[in-house]
């Protein structure tokens, strides 16, 4: 019986540790969410007011321009920009990633490893080192303050990682499957589309979620390449809450909630694929 007792103690310890870790993980984030529903004066009060005394949607109402107090922040425009830029760049990065990943997984060719490493290393360049040269080139091409300009940058940012994950995933799928399909009368493209692509879905989904989150949350480059509501994304919009010398932290938190929710929903939806995708895409192969 003392084995049973041991097991029970182990379980309690596991739960306790998990609880503490989850607390550390979620409290700073939840605090932001909570702040979004409180007035600034309560948030910045000293001594601290722990229990919200005046919770409400005021901060959101302000942002969206309802109610008595307004901060003219064009959230719908930012949201639309973010959505268009993040999803377009994700889709393109996935297409390029699939094409490249397939090449790495299924073909032998010269300089294969060097090209692969080169693509990976392209990601190591810090955005801060790229921002100005990109700005100068983009301005010559009229890509400043244009969604397309950011989309191109994010595609380049995400391609190495999507290629990597998808390459691993394709290698996991036996070649025989597409060969069987070709014997059954498919072209190579049809074999890819009907057989290999559906099997690689999880890998593509996990590459997609990483790409989306990167583009959705990117700030450094976006702040340089955007100018107006034509292209400003949500993270850049956060800076609208920093006035010359003050920060409207409660308002910023409300905006943060608006940014986080779509990402959270998306992640929750694809997380099953996420784990599977990482498992196979990353290591095996």
């Amino acid at each position: 019986m003392d084995r049973v007792l041991k097991k029970r103690i182990g379980k309690i310890v596991t739960w306790f540790l998990t609880f503490v870790l989850m607390l550390i993980i979620s409290v700073p984030g939840l605090w932001v969410v909570l702040t979004a529903f409180r007035p600034n004066r309560e948030v910045l009060a000293k001594p601290a007011i722990w229990i919200p005394q005046d919770p409400g949607w005021t901060n959101f109402a302000k942002i969206f321009g309802f109610g008595a107090e307004q901060i003219a922040i064009p959230v719908p425009a930012y949201f639309a920009n973010s959505l268009i830029i993040a999803s377009t760049s994700t889709v393109i990065a996935l297409l390029i990633g699939m094409s490249g990943g397939y090449a790495f997984a299924r073909y032998r060719f010269k300089f294969k490893n060097k090209i692969f490493l080169g693509l990976m290393l392209s990601r190591t360049v810090p955005g801060i080192a790229l921002s100005l040269p990109i700005f100068i080139i983009w301005s010559r091409l009229g890509l400043i303050d244009a969604k397309l300009g950011l989309i191109i940058v994010y595609v380049a940012l995400n391609v190495p990682f999507t290629i990597w994950l998808i390459d691993g995933f394709f290698r996991q799928i036996p070649k025989e499957m597409s060969e069987a399909a070709q014997v059954d009368g498919c072209t190579r493209w049809q074999a890819f589309w009907h057989i290999e692509f559906p099997l690689a879905k999880s890998g593509i989904a996990s590459a997609g979620i990483f790409a989306f989150l990167t583009s959705w949350n990117e700030y450094a480059l976006a702040s340089n390449l955007t100018r107006s509501t034509d292209s400003k994304t949500l993270p850049v919009g956060l800076m609208d809450f920093t006035a010359q010398f003050t920060i409207d932290w409660a308002g910023m938190s409300a905006m943060a909630v608006i940014i986080i929710i779509p990402a959270l929903i998306l992640t929750f939806l694809v997380q099953k694929h996420l784990i599977a995708g990482l498992t196979f895409g990353g290591v095996k192969g």
Binding site: I25, A103, T124, I136, N217, L238, A256
Partner: protein, 313 residues
């Protein structure tokens, strides 16, 4: 296409063979083009400017060739090397702690069967936060006067004074490390959890039969099996750890007295505020070499580990 395929088609239709050999390059060309355009081209430009006295506000200085002067200056600049050393330290501590914590979280979550899906989502919560937001979030949490951390410590009677989290020599670095680790541990946890899910049970049992106690099983079997996943995470993280720039810039701006100055904040200040782009680009080049070194190290480790994982089951 196997080698045999290539060989057999070669004999019959040489022309088709040539086309097939081009196929992978064709498939890769979009990726290569976009990287050339967005990364390499700008890099060449900034490489050139690192040999000029280029100042942002004086476009004509773009053609003012100064040779190695920028490099000589930064090599002689002790603040630069301090920032360099601090960045290496920051990367090393952050990556290792993120790995250890991620491992702990993954192991715990893997043991829990009830409510695991919710826990997994919660675990990924910080991944939803933009780095810029994480910066502000912890700037307010660690504020010495109105920050919730100090308020909580004081309310609980754990601390008498206002702890200057963002100012103290060690605490300031600790604070930005905490923010960075908070934001990025999820990546490790999720990858290691994926690794645990993929882990075949047999070798674990074999090791138990072979005489291992639980710790030895973990040490000799589980951990080596997880290492490739850890290396992937490390590679990914060392790829975009420069995102920490946003956090540091907001939280401390590299201060006070340069106590939290990392290469990236230094580069941004020199390049934009001081408008000395040439010099900033010289620094950026050295920081790129540093990132490449980190990434290359983990990548080769990964490739080595990947080799034997093929025989995992």
């Amino acid at each position: 296409m196997t080698q045999a395929d290539v060989a057999s088609t070669a004999n019959i239709r040489p022309r088709r063979r040539r086309r097939r050999n081009l196929t992978p390059f064709l498939l890769l060309s979009p990726a290569i083009l976009v990287i050339l355009f967005v990364v390499l081209l700008p890099l060449l430009f900034s490489f050139y400017t690192s040999f000029t006295g280029y100042r942002l506000i004086k476009p004509e200085t773009l053609y003012q060739w100064v040779g190695f002067q920028n490099y000589q200056r930064i090599f002689a600049d002790k603040n630069f090397w301090a920032a360099f050393g601090r960045t290496v330290l920051f990367l090393t501590i952050a990556l290792n702690l993120e790995f250890l914590l991620g491992l702990g979280i993954a192991l715990l979550i893997n043991r829990i069967t009830w409510g695991q899906r919710a826990l997994r989502t919660m675990m990924m919560f910080p991944m939803m936060f933009s780095p810029i937001l994480v910066g502000y979030q912890f700037k307010f949490i660690f504020n010495d006067n109105i920050g919730i951390l100090n308020n909580a410590l004081q309310a609980l009677g754990l601390s008498e004074g206002a702890i200057p989290w963002l100012v103290d020599k060690y605490l300031a670095m600790f604070s930005i490390l905490f923010a960075e680790i908070w934001m990025s541990t999820s990546v490790f946890a999720i990858l290691l959890l994926a690794g645990l899910f993929a882990m075949p049970r047999d070798p674990l049992e074999a090791a138990r039969v072979d005489g291992c106690n639980p710790w030895q099983v973990f040490r000799h079997i589980t951990l080596p099996f997880l290492m490739p996943f850890a290396f992937i995470a490390m590679t990914i993280r060392s790829l975009d750890v420069a995102r920490a720039y946003d956090i540091v810039d907001v939280m401390t701006g590299g201060g006070p007295a340069g106590r939290t100055e990392l290469l990236w904040t230094l580069i941004a200040r020199v390049g934009y505020d001081n408008a000395r782009m040439g010099q900033a680009n010289a620094m950026a080049y050295i920081s790129i070499l540093l990132s490449i070194a980190f990434t290359y190290y983990f990548f080769t480790k990964l490739i080595a580990a990947r080799k034997y994982m093929g025989g995992a089951d």
